[in-house]
Amino acid sequence: MTPFDRFLDAFGDRLADASANRSARLRRRRSLVFIGALPAGTVVAVVALLVSSGRQLDPVAEARAALAPPGEIVYMKITSTLIAPKTSHPTPPQTTEQWSATDPPRWRFVQRIQPGREEFAYAHGAQSYYNADRDRLQVRTGYSDRGPGARVPSLLGLGSGDVQADLRSMLAGGKVTDMGTARVGGRTVRRLVSERLQGQHFRTRLIYDVDPRSFAPVQATLSTTFPHMHFVTRMHIDDYKRIPLNARTVALLQIRDECHHPDACGGPQAPAGEVRAAEERPQGLSPPAGGDARSVTAPRSHRSFCTPADRRRRVPAGGRRRLQQEVDAMSNAADWEDKLQENPLLSRLVREAGMDDAITFWGYIGPSSDENTISLHPSLESPHGSVEIAKKDIVHVEDVPENILLFGAKVVWVRRDAAIARRGAEPAVTLGKMKRADTIDPASVPAPNLEEVQVGRLRMNVKTLASDPDCHSPCATCRDCSSVCICICRYTDPPA
């Protein structure tokens, strides 16, 4: 062999290595394609671990076979919080649900971001991503059930989806360290720690707390350190259970139109309202049973199940969101029942005063000249305008939420027959007893928004524009367009 041939062979070897590295990198990248929209904390955690490890869990299959037989679905609900000290906009906690099964491997993630929902799934060589807000379903085919694309992304890397099995195998393989037991939230947990260093600057430390006996996950904390950044992702396992895999529950592993699923809508016996909701949902989003030919005709091609006809059938985005919220509520019986609880404030008002006998005033409580009355100002901008309400006539008081009125406004429930005095820049005017609208004598009611006009011999009363109460706010009709309104207009309506 000549030096020239050795030179060519040497470069060929380097070229082969570069090609192999690139192929491995692309395979990892493809596995992460649909992880992009997982909760921010999860993304940092999962990507950090995948980048740092670059390996899959080799002994997982054996442990999985022991712990998660083919007839089960492993379900997990996680609430994750990303803590990034140097960011100005903290990420709110986000919830992710996941279902996974083996033989063949299938999994589905559901991430709810109000008011939308995103889903990720793998089954039969295809990764799917569904964006409910945009009604888009993308399917990538060409994956192998034995490849990384079929593995379930998690804090532990690409695993089986069964955290118990993965942690046991990692512990057996020396990839996590058993730090003994610890107390978390009043219970004893077993603490497993994994630390990885990638290069000189990128470091991750994962602390996984599990049940000491069963290894069922309880919570996890992942610290990710870059040269100039440090993230902490806290994950709490809200629910972790095994569900029998059968003809009914297999749908949990598939991205689907939830209203077509018996778990969501109650099947053929669904109430009329639920059926209506199902009919209003855009059709064509679910892969038909047995797969859709469009999704598998080309390997790794992006496909959407939305046809032009589907788009025409869509309801408006806002309507979809509301509909989705309704369906989401239907899909979980526990949530639905929780929402049937009585409103405690309403119960108290009915019990203490009776709703028919109370009206509300909104405003700010100011100084009062009489200790037996309160002075309620409609706005902080008008300290001289107020209403005086006798304390004995007040039924109830609540703080107005800050997102409606700032700086401590109150809403006051007052008996309908209370004596209310209105004060302004002018001397106080007694407005008299409040009466029901149908008992008011038109002749006795002052008409401050009417003005007498004389044109020639004709004299008439016309409405003055300046005093026309045409402002709308949470308390219905208003005295004027100030930031707070008072229901004075209820008894100052001009006669018909």
Partner: protein, 184 residues
């Protein structure tokens, strides 16, 4: 060479089949073994990076795709006066250093001695101004502003002279590539 697994192109087979012909192809179009090696290595690096985008499946189609990459690298070299190594860097791929024996073998196999004689004869046919511009740009690898500065002309005029000179030499080198280089 170990087994290479890329879905689009079998890089191992491609390299085994074209490693030497492609190097000779580039050497005869640059008359410089070092430049030819740089372009050759960059071409195969491109093949690794873009192997999944190949549409053809037959050997001829894949070969056409590889030589298309080489022609574009060559045209870029003619236009800019230097060989790029971006893809090599991106893949962290370093070509081995070529010792004098390797360079001499490339000269011999590519027949660069005879080619240079022909080029020299062709250069004498060029006017002195054009010849200087071609020499500065292609041989000395000076950027166009420097060529223009040394010749005391505008950069546009320098480009025009180099283009005319390369067009004259096109019959000896690679007409399509030179045309691509001077028109793009």
């Amino acid at each position: 060479v170990g087994p290479v697994a890329t879905r689009g192109v079998d890089i191992e087979a491609l390299y085994a089949r074209h490693r030497e012909p492609l190097l000779m192809f580039l050497a005869r179009r640059t008359a410089d073994p070092q430049v030819a090696l740089d372009l050759w290595a960059e071409t195969f690096a491109h093949a690794v990076a873009g192997g999944r985008r190949v549409r053809g499946s037959s050997e001829d189609e894949v070969a056409g795709w590889l030589y298309g990459i080489a022609r574009r690298r060559l045209a870029l070299y003619y236009r800019r006066g230097r060989s790029e190594r971006r893809t090599l860097d991106r893949l962290k791929l370093e070509r081995p250093a070529a010792d004098p024996g390797v360079l001499a073998e490339i000269e011999r196999r590519a027949g660069l001695g005879a080619l240079r004689a022909e080029l020299g004869a062709a250069l004498t046919q060029l006017s002195p101004a054009v010849r200087d511009a071609v020499r500065m740009r292609v041989v000395d690898e000076l950027p166009y502003p420097d060529v223009a500065g040394q010749l005391g002309i505008s950069e546009q005029a320098a480009r025009a002279r180099v283009s005319r000179g390369l067009a004259t030499l096109a019959d000896l080198l690679d007409t399509p590539t030179i045309q691509e280089a001077v028109t793009t």
